[in-house]
């Protein structure tokens, strides 16, 4: 087992464990903090796959901005363990069984595909570097880039219209 495999297993265990903690924790604040750990583990996976730009974007956008916003909203509403609404036990169990069935079906369907002989390139390849991605983004994908700015314009207008108290 070389160092790449050790890192892969370590990051996978961290990601899965913290994702489980997100959904099992009663306190919403702890859920947010565990989700940040999950995002850092996924960023570690990106670095392992040498998608360096996406790793940084994942940390800046998700862990840095979106999760802080979630934490802010939870503190804004003063949600904590006592006010956390709970589903009844049978509904929760049914949800867990349904999710487990989906996991089982997907794993069973993909267990014997031809694709499993393929390898993903780790620790090499230059497509994930910011220079190559930027070149492609501003030449081939310049129209989606402009459209995303229109999307942001509409998101701004939407947030202001919904959020501004008259």
């Amino acid at each position: 087992m070389n160092i790449t495999q050790i890192l892969f297993w370590f990051l996978s265990v961290v990601a899965l464990f913290s994702a489980l903690m997100v959904i099992t924790n009663k306190n919403p604040v702890y859920s947010v903090l565990w989700l940040i750990v999950t995002f850092f583990a996924i960023s570690g996976h990106y670095i392992l796959l040498n998608a360096q730009f996406l790793a940084i974007v994942n940390i800046i956008v998700y862990a840095g901005a979106i999760m802080v916003l979630f934490l802010f909203v939870i503190m804004l509403m003063n949600l904590n363990k006592e006010t956390e609404p709970q589903k009844n036990r049978w509904l929760r169990m049914a949800g867990a069984v349904a999710g487990g069935c989906l996991l089982l079906v997907l794993v069973a369907a993909l267990k014997d595909t031809d694709i499993k002989q393929q390898q993903a390139m780790v620790n090499g390849g230059s497509i994930g570097l910011i220079k190559n991605l930027g070149k492609e983004l501003f030449t081939t994908y310049v129209v989606p880039f402009e459209i995303s700015s229109i999307l942001f314009l509409s998101a701004m207008v939407g947030a202001v219209v919904i959020g501004k108290k008259e």
């Binding site: 489980l20 979630f70 939870i74 949800g95 349904a98 997907l106 393929q118 390849g125 497509i127 947030a159």
Partner: protein
């Protein structure tokens, strides 16, 4: 790394997100679980792009195949940010009106 490790890791993260959506009643936690599912899909897309790249490099060493997959992930992240802002604004306004983020109280559209 074999690609199927990444496939199974992503499926597991996605299933955890689904279970979270189905078992929780707090609208914010449900929203967070949707973000988790988006991230599982992103991880799989990056892994597939690197798989594609490895095959292309074996034929032509200077190939840039797989860049579009990573750009797709970048756009998913960017759109997710826009979606989160509007979604959280809606949740905050719901909280302002009904003083709860329990999704069971949000069934008024049914009646």
């Amino acid at each position: 790394m074999p690609i199927n490790y990444y496939i199974f890791l992503s499926i597991a993260l996605f299933a955890i997100g689904i279970v979270g959506v189905l078992t929780r009643r707090n609208a914010i936690i449900i929203f967070m679980c949707i973000e988790l599912m988006l991230n599982a899909v992103n991880l799989l897309l990056v892994a597939f792009s690197k798989m594609h790249h490895l095959k292309a490099v074996a034929i032509d060493a200077a190939s840039t195949a797989g860049t579009d997959g990573q750009l797709f992930v970048f756009f998913i992240m960017v759109v997710a940010a826009a979606e989160v802002t509007v979604g959280l604004a809606i949740i905050v306004m719901l909280y302002r009106n009904i003083h709860s983020v329990d999704v069971n109280f949000l069934n008024r559209l049914k009646h």
